[in-house]
Amino acid sequence: MTSVVLPSSRPREETPFRRFVSQFCESRLALVGLAVFVLIALAAIFASLIAPQNPYDLAQLDIMDARLPPGSSSSVGYTYLLGTDDQGRDMFSGMLYGLRISLGVGVGSAIFAAAVGTTLGLIAAWFGGKIDAAIMRLVDLQLSFPSILVALMILAVLGKGVMNVVLALIVVEWAYYARTVRATAMVERRREYIEAAECLALPWRRILFRHLLPNCLPPLIVIATQQVARAIALEATLSFLGLGVPITEPSLGLLIANGYQYMLSGKYWISFYPGIALLVTIVSINLVGDQLRDVLNPRLSR
């Protein structure tokens, strides 16, 4: 993927991008996953427009409507599509806003982790030697510990809160990006176009980011999708344990935690529906990621 095919006399040129798209579309499952994810993302972005109620606005909540089953109607006129929680919040609205937080934290942390990890991976591959060894030692150390442990350590030291969760996620994730990018970059580094760029005496920053990085993208994209799913799952887990986002702005994990105590008395909907939303989000991202990995894998002959 280092050059674009020259235009030929064929009516429709098959650029690498077009080929990638058509190969991706070979899996219907992945397409379904993509469609579902886009739907979810849109729902989260436009939550304020779709949701019948703003769950953060205490004035809109009626405590008398607490713990109502799905389908009950509220005193204000609309139906509680998926029931209410113990504060009288409409589950559907709560889920939409919770999706916002879950996706926001998940994607946000993935982007930052990608930025940090990619930069370090590129630097390690470019400079080699002691810098490479040092960075890779750090990566290995980091990766030998389970993600939840690292997150726990950070949250134990820094305390709870959205920003701390994001920070914890970034610390957990950067190493995966660093390792993958370094591996790809070390291969690409030896190619002629990098040599050519060096001969032009371009500054190393420019070579790294304008020339090397674009060609390390395929595995990076695969890892990024997987990491977003992991970040969302990890944030949900941390919030469920009470170590994540604050109660005032619950993510899906916290919503599930809130409903946990009511599970045993049969009021399943408080935990169940946010759980489904979380599930569908994660699985759809994983489906897309799986197909991306198959399509972008250089070892599979296509």
Partner: protein, 324 residues
Amino acid sequence: MLAWLIRRLIQAIFVIVAMTVIVFIGVHVIGNPVDVLISPEADQAERARIIATLGLDQPLWRQYLLFVIDALHGNLGRSFVFNEPALTLIAQRMPATMELAVTAVLLSIIIGVPLGLFAGLKPNNLISRTIMAGSILGFSLPTFWVGLMLIMVFAVQLGWLPSTGRGATAPLFGVQWSFLTWDGLRHMLMPALNLALFNISLVLRLTRAGVREILPMDFIKFARAKGLSPARVIFVHVLKNILIPVVTVVGLELGSTVAFAVVTESVFAWPGMGKLIIDSINVLDRPVIVAYLMMIVLLFVTINLIVDILYTILDPRVRLEHKA
């Protein structure tokens, strides 16, 4: 061989030391050690006394040495909440967690390997495809959610299994274990399965990939050319080749499993180390947090070391490498 072993040991010690430094920095530099180590309920005199004992007014490197020496003596502070040595608290709860983790790991092999074998030998079978789809779910689903679903289905709706707690225990070697009582086993089933789910998916996929890689190899064809029964070809020739990487991964995952027990223990109210740490973080019982982190790092490094040694023993080719 000995040279490799010594190098490996030094590596392990290095990691432990690095962890003590990190934890130390976390507590004494980033956090406020006064807050961390002294209960908020202590009065002025008590505070002064503790500051003097712990040497919090001394230069950092001295504090670090004190910290390490204390740790080596097993003194990692006293819990604010329970007013007992933190290490004792953790040691009391370790059997429950280890029981759960080891059961989960065993389950992952007992369930994962046969399923993976089947999926690998008959890849186009409908059952195989279902198994593989299930494995994707197995490691993408958040553990806590699966736990909740298990409780909802088996405890609330069907009433077959108890939803929380550890149930009855019986002593062995002076420690209380659940698996020795029927009630204890009933209580352990769901949490162990929940914890094992991720590992089962992992082992399953690994086994299947291994089978698909090994089956077309020449030595398998040669084994068949010798006239061996298919059972022998699969269970001796194929399996032995697969088991080595699988056991390695599973061994390494044991540490991860112990860490992830945090989630399962919270969902099922299982009285292990994990639940303790979550509760402690929530009430800011910091000595316990510090003690837990140190213990788990120690556990981790030890497990990794043992797995490495086991791998050397199991795979004859690696043995040669490490001899060189």
